[in-house]
């Protein structure tokens, strides 16, 4: 009990005083996971839409891969991205191993299957008759896709929430490809792990509170946005 109270007091102190290192780590986390989520949306929404609407041989196989990808442990993604980014690896020339960019790359790979799967599930649930009606209204291919996406906008927002939630909370990939370098590639999860291993439970608890709060606030903002539009 003692430990918990100590931790919480220390955490509140860190938060209240606006510790520069903690703020830096928080901002980097937000930036890295936000960018990774954004990239996963850019790739995942079109791909999910394609998988939902296009019939082609091997479609189910691709969908099953995507669904497996959703449950891929981040540490496995981290390992494979590392292998690619190491100096001798195929992408070694990029020289981005142990940088925030590497973390963004790994996290985008973690979030993408979530976005693809949720997008494709949402679009497959739209009524084929409604889709035919959209065509019958004279929609071009692009307008057709746009109107369908508008139709499932709340589910797409759920994909954003799930994608962000998956990457902001992962530690394995950030550790493997970011290296947890102080003041450079240290994010909330890797910092928490480090402090725990050093026995600094107070700081670890402070970081974990910030992490939870961050995840909560972003999700809350998205959820409020989603529900407000729903009530229109």
């Amino acid at each position: 009990m003692e430990l918990i109270w100590q931790g919480i007091t220390a955490a509140l102190k860190l938060l209240a005083t606006g510790d520069a290192e903690v703020i830096g780590i928080t901002l980097l986390t937000l930036q890295v996971s936000g960018t990774a989520t954004f990239i996963s949306l850019i790739l995942g929404i079109p791909l999910g839409t394609f998988l939902a609407l296009k019939q082609f041989p091997g479609r189910r196989f691709v969908l099953s891969l995507v669904n497996t990808g959703m449950g891929m442990p981040p540490v496995v993604v981290g390992l494979w991205v590392s292998i690619f980014l190491w100096r001798s690896g195929p992408l070694g020339f990029l020289n981005i191993m142990y940088t925030p960019t590497a973390i963004i790359m790994a996290q985008a790979i973690i979030a993408a299957p979530v976005v693809v799967a949720l997008t494709s599930a949402a679009i497959q649930q739209t009524d084929p008759k409604l889709r035919l009606q959209i065509r019958a209204l004279g929609a071009s291919n692009f307008q057709y896709l746009w109107l369908i996406m508008k139709e499932v906008r709340f589910s797409l927002l759920a994909a954003v929430i799930a994608g962000f939630g998956a990457v902001v909370s992962e530690v394995g990939a950030s550790m493997a490809v970011g290296g947890n370098i102080k003041g450079y590639s240290r994010v909330l999860t890797t910092a928490t792990v480090l402090e725990v291993s050093k026995g600094n439970f107070d700081i670890a608890i402070a970081l974990s509170i910030i992490l939870s709060l961050l995840a909560y606030l972003v999700t809350l903002a998205l959820t409020l946005f989603q529900q407000q539009r729903q009530g229109e």
Binding site: K129, L130, R135, A136, G138, A139, S140, L147, K150, E232
Partner: protein, 250 residues
Amino acid sequence: MPTQIPIRSETLLKAENLSWVKKNKPILQGINFSLAPSEHVGLIGPNGSGKSSLLKILSFLETPTRGRLTFQGENIPRPIPLELRRKIAVVFQEPLLLDASVQDNVATGLKIRGLHREASRHRVQEWLERFGISHLSKQHARSLSGGEAQRASLARAFVLEPDIIFLDEPFSALDAPAKEALVADLASIFAKTQTTAVLISHDFNDILRLTERTVILLDGKVAAEGSPSELLHFPESHPIGKFMAHWQKA
């Protein structure tokens, strides 16, 4: 026996020897059909006879397996150009409204054609009024009653002022008074505007009030065509007479 009405020289849409096979199943066979400007044609037939399928082909939503389709005497190129698809409108049996307000739903087709909100507002309002739902314009489409939704769906198609409007059982969700009112509204709209229309219905009264010519489909083939009253003269032993007899009792 009067089964054929002379085809007017001026045809808007013409189908010659159309067939449609889906999953190895012949759904439409050797269909000949033509539509003159401002004409209102009723399409009737038993369940599964291919009415909705024919309507989808005529409205360019499905591609026939065989046969020729011409619009204003011109062969229709494949894939069908967008400008051509935008000359027609379809109302399905279910209202199929988008997750938006009534006015946004009705404006959708205009927006698709590049008309902006301000420019289309007046037209949208006008058609909402004609269908008696202008007081619902700001309401969310998903909260409408079945009858209101059907009216919104009709307004969404009519607002486009298309060359041809296809109506696939647009009254089936309505109770008798609502349907009566809507049929009367449609009849007056047909009279006032130059709308060309194809109407599928299972109600002979709708066909009598809204169309001048009727086409009967049986088993994916055109079994007969003529004025609605002419089709009543088939003997009960004839497949058409049999269908008409059942139909009138219903």
